[in-house]
Amino acid sequence: MTGGPFQNIKYEMTMFIKSAYRICPSSGDEPDYREIIPDANMRRRMGRIVRMGVAAALKCTEPFPDISIGAVIAATSMGCLADTGKFLDEISDRNESMLNPSPFIYSTFNTIAGQIAIIKGIRAYNMTYVNRGNGFSDALVDAWLCLGEGKDNILVVSYDESTPVSTAIMERLGCNYIPDAEAVAFLFSSSDGYPCPDPLEGCLDPGTRLAGMRDMGMNVCSADLLYRQFISGVN
């Protein structure tokens, strides 16, 4: 055996943000989904957070129609909560028979990364992190690994939503969580764009990670922070 999985590997410390797009309805940042996902049936089947995550990714890559995406990486703390609740309601209401499988299928954690791959025809590395407040930080580490492994144009999407039930439970548990829904997408490159802060700094620091395990909102909040850094940096 020669080099095997160790060949052609070159890790660089700098990662660049080529493009970013945020959907945050509570701040008034929401596009017209009919333009982004023209297929009405597809749009209807998607739950709100799936629609948001997919649309953020599509808008983020829109300025670069000709590039080939090297990887799709998604991050969430709780996944698709509305569809999860909907399927639980189905099970109880219909007493476990003749259930509509759609909410079950769309409740799966990797639905958004899978839908992005299907819609854009990205037959590449596809991953989803579900790790409380650390999901986005873990996705950035993976993006960094991908760039070092020779892939380029790494699409990362961070998303979370809340439902009336999840909000009520979070409040009673005293957990910090996002009040509505948000999706933020980034396109990372090894060569050009706005320099991204070192993704490894926080991910390996025990204190930062512990804070992330306690704060369910940090997944989207840290993506939001990076988005704002990017926007103010490029303008």
């Binding site: 080099g3 079950f104 299928i105 990797n110 989803t128 579900v130 492994e149 039930v165 548990l173």
Partner: protein, 399 residues
Amino acid sequence: MSCRILVTGVGAVSAAGMSVQENIRTLDSGKRALSPFPSFVRTSLELPVGEVKADNASLEGMLGLSRKNPVTRTALLAAVAASEAVMDAGLEPGVLSGGRTGLVIGTSVGGMDISEVFYEEYRKDSNGCNPGTVRMHDCGATVSFVSSCLGIRGFSTAVSTACSSAGNAIMLAARMIRAGLLDAAIAGGADSLSRFTLNGFNSMRILSSSPCLPFDAARDGLNLGEGAGFVVLQRETDVTEKAYCCLGGWANADEAFHQTGSSSDGRGAFEAMSGALESASLNPEDIDYVNTHGTATPGNDLAEGTALKRLFGGSVPFGSFKGYIGHTLAASEGIEAVLCAVSVKEGKVWPSAGFSVEDPSIGISPFCPPFPEYRKIRHLLSNSFGFGGNNTSLVFSAV
């Protein structure tokens, strides 16, 4: 040549047993560990399952726990299997807590076993029920629980790509070791049975009402299972004792075809398998056995069998563990990676269970000797495929 990544410890819990040794004994006996219906899930569905034969109190007992709030079954299964793997590898407490040992868990069910019971109560009386019981609903909670059981303070995460989760967890751990971010990692997957997943797969009409028949002409669906499986990965230069095998290569490729189905030509399976071979610098003829995803749904086995034929020309022995323990979802490649590591180390292959008649549309048959067979395995390829077209293949090589 650079340093290799070795499998130095293994741990597994499944319907076939509470430890790796118990699992091997069950496989050796040829017994299928499927039960006619679940006994620990509140459901009216009477479908065969690969259920772990221990209730949560027994699992808590194995871990020496006495807790105020209930621990989810996924987290308990994960902690039992991960502890076994750590003991097997002989990782010292200082190594575990030193920050250079990571934990990567693939899970898709997470804490749903408790959440679904809680939610039923919540619908009736939202103020009367105790939300403390759903503190462990999310996948990250399983990671947090297992980290604290093992004393891990370094990088830890949960990946969730449906049925390929554990394969991707093992792959991430290996990539982090290769990049120098970790020296060692415990990686694999865990999922418990739940009313949610039983009903989910039942609503998709892919559950069989009898013990499943991977690759058989009469196969009509899968049996859900539960369990956990973990391997300990370490850089070769840190290892002094003989390892099980080396993780020689890996690949993940999305099929970008359908959210839940596979393309009939198995292009995603083909790309994952050929990508893993390429990353290991191997040719198809170097592979001595393929552990398939082999769920026994008509679609998966057709796609995977077609891809196998295309890549290996029908000459490679292959089989599925699903006929013994069911499809354990995110745990499947965790448990199967453990069994594959044992296969490579001992040069032993178990017959694929539940097969009798070849499907003419697939045109190849799994390896089904009457008893487990000893044969030299230089390299073994192991597949796991999930929703969203998420396909992963790992290569385990003899050391």
